[in-house]
């Protein structure tokens, strides 16, 4: 079983990202489960969402405490919360950032780091506003390339189905992030 934890801020689409991830992997014939952190959500406050992936039916029904990978939609969360809590060694930390992975030195001791400037990619494709770009689809493109857990084509199909508006612009953002991610 592979477990993924997504950190974002309320309004950035972390929960939707976890669902798109589930839909993508389900398309490839695997079993999936995705859920938000059980609680009340407020715009701007830290939000966590989870996805489980397995080749067999998933009976486990509790929170994820030891994720294989984490996805960070907002780099300011790195200072605010413990984003690597319980993360397995050598797990990927995929960060929305314009910096190089080497910038995150302290993380590199135990984990693998990938970065993608999802912020600029989202703005380029007119997703969200300058103050609040919607980066959830772009970061999944980076996740796809970095982890190799599923095909880009499955992800694009899921984005077209699951994103409520501007599907094609989201698809382009996913493709850009897929090609631009650094790791």
């Amino acid at each position: 079983m592979i477990e993924v934890r997504i950190h974002g801020r309320g309004g950035q689409g972390a929960v939707v990202a976890s669902k798109i991830l589930a839909v993508t992997i389900f398309k490839e014939g695997k079993y999936v489960q995705s859920f938000p952190n059980f609680g009340v959500e407020r715009r701007g406050a830290p939000v966590t969402a989870y996805t489980r992936i397995d080749n067999k039916v998933i009976f486990l029904r509790c929170k994820i405490y030891n994720p294989d990978h984490v996805v960070i939609l907002d780099p300011s969360l790195i200072e605010a919360i413990n984003i690597t809590e319980g993360l397995k060694e050598k797990g990927w930390v995929i960060i929305n950032s314009d910096k190089e992975p080497s910038h995150f030195n302290s993380l590199l001791k135990k984990y693998r780091v990938a970065t993608v400037d999802a912020h600029s990619i989202a703005l380029k494709h007119g997703l969200g506003s300058k103050a609040n770009p919607i980066v959830n689809t772009a970061i999944l493109g980076a996740f796809c390339k970095t982890t190799g857990l599923f095909r880009l084509s499955s992800l694009l199909e899921a984005v077209r189905e699951e994103v409520p508006a501007a599907q094609e612009r989201n698809v382009q953002a996913v493709e850009d992030a897929y090609h631009q991610v650094k790791y």
């Binding site: 669902k19 389900f26 999936v32 489960q33 995705s34 859920f35 009976f59």
Partner: protein, 387 residues
């Protein structure tokens, strides 16, 4: 067709494919998406139902009672304080023998204010005359709504389909949604025998002197007893049509040669399957029974599954203050009259109240404790209490 659905939307789809005709509901966290989706389905014309906005859950159930009495297949969904506000009318719905189906998302009662899961909201409706089904997956939620209508309309008692807050309500997973035509074959149109009819005027809910009241209650109990066989039959019919079965009232899991049997319900039963497998791999003879129905209580099934076992451990995500875990007490009660030599000691554990996570570690701790002790030293064994 398989779709990735949240538990709440599995409820909505269950109501959609059951072709409900009247929905009266009031939104409450964590049930809101159930009724949002249903109102959308009505607005889009996908569901030809009258959606009634009401000012409270008490009114929601009152509207459902009236609609069902008029002969319409009726649905509502609620949670926690919403359910307990309905309490008076839950008695009415069952007493009037109305086959209403309702989903309840298990959410703890305040104070302290909580939106997370435990079973006290639904279990405190125990004596209202509603059947109760506790689900462990979104698929079971969907299937149970459809089964619930068939059961309710046959025994003329209302059914509550219960699912855990967040652990199911907000969790997305694959759900197989069958074709409408198949569901139509399984569940025919409601033909309620005692409906309001201007050609045959009757009085409903009028004053009933002591000469008659007892007999109505006797018939309610008989209907609950009849429900036992109906539930098993409906589950079998469902399997024939859709290929999925839930064992009727309870499911036995690896109990055949088990010495220790765990009793669990809702999503705890799902996680417990994993732990049972792990312990089996380690050579421990452990099994589980999943309590799917709480009312009618599966007395015979519980006795058959537990008699002669060495030990029983019950996990309750609920409490009856001054007594203990509610499932545990009922299980002890049905075991009382069996032969003393076949009666296992029953360990009662309380865990996970207010949405405290129940993980494989929690369940392992419960099983290890049961294996270690000969007999329960206390009526309640609390798990994870911080002092």
């Amino acid at each position: 067709m398989k779709k990735i659905l949240m538990g709440n939307h599995a409820v909505s789809y269950g109501a959609l494919l059951s072709r409900v005709e009247v929905i009266a509901a009031y939104p409450i966290t964590p049930q809101t998406q159930v009724v949002e989706e249903l109102s959308k389905m009505c607005a889009q014309g996908k569901l030809k139902a009258r959606y009634i906005n009401v000012e409270s859950e008490h009114s929601a159930m009152a509207a459902c009672i009236a609609a069902e009495q008029a002969g319409a297949r009726t649905f509502t969904a609620t949670s926690s304080h919403g359910l307990t506000l309905m309490h008076e009318l839950l008695h009415w719905a069952a007493g009037a023998r109305l086959p209403i189906v309702m989903a309840n998302i298990n959410r703890s009662m305040a104070p302290g204010w909580s939106i997370w899961t435990d079973q006290n909201d639904s279990l405190s409706q125990r004596d209202t005359g509603w059947l109760q089904i506790y689900c462990e997956s979104n698929q079971e939620v969907f299937d149970s709504i459809i089964q619930a209508y068939k059961i309710a309309e046959r025994v003329l008692l209302p059914v509550m389909v219960v699912l855990d807050a967040f652990v199911l309500s907000h969790t997305y997973e694959p759900v197989d949604i069958p074709e409408q035509e198949l569901v139509d074959q399984f569940l025919s149109k409601l033909d309620y025998p005692y409906k309001l009819d201007v050609k045959n005027p009757c009085s409903f809910g009028s004053l009933l002197p002591p000469e008659y009241y007892l007999e109505l209650r006797y018939k309610m109990q008989k209907a609950m007893e009849e429900a036992h066989d109906v539930i098993i039959k409906v589950d079998k019919e469902y399997q024939q049509m859709f290929g999925r079965s839930y064992g009727g009232l309870v499911e036995e899991y690896r109990t055949e040669d088990a010495e220790l049997v765990l009793v669990a319900s809702s999503t705890v039963a799902s996680t417990a399957r994993m732990v049972v497998e792990q312990l089996r791999d380690e050579g421990v003879k452990v099994g589980m029974i999943k309590m799917r129905f709480f009312r009618p209580f599966p007395t015979q099934e519980v006795v058959n599954a537990l008699k002669g076992k060495k030990k029983v451990a019950v996990i309750d995500r609920n409490i009856s203050y001054g007594q203990g875990g509610i499932f545990c007490e009922e299980i002890r009660s049905v075991l009382y009259n069996i032969d003393q030599h076949e009666r296992p000691p029953v360990f009662g554990y309380i865990a996970g109240l207010g949405g405290r996570d129940i993980t494989p570690t929690t369940i392992r701790e419960i099983l290890s404790h049961t294996l270690k002790e000969d007999k329960p030293k206390e009526n309640i064994i609390w798990i994870g209490v911080k002092h």
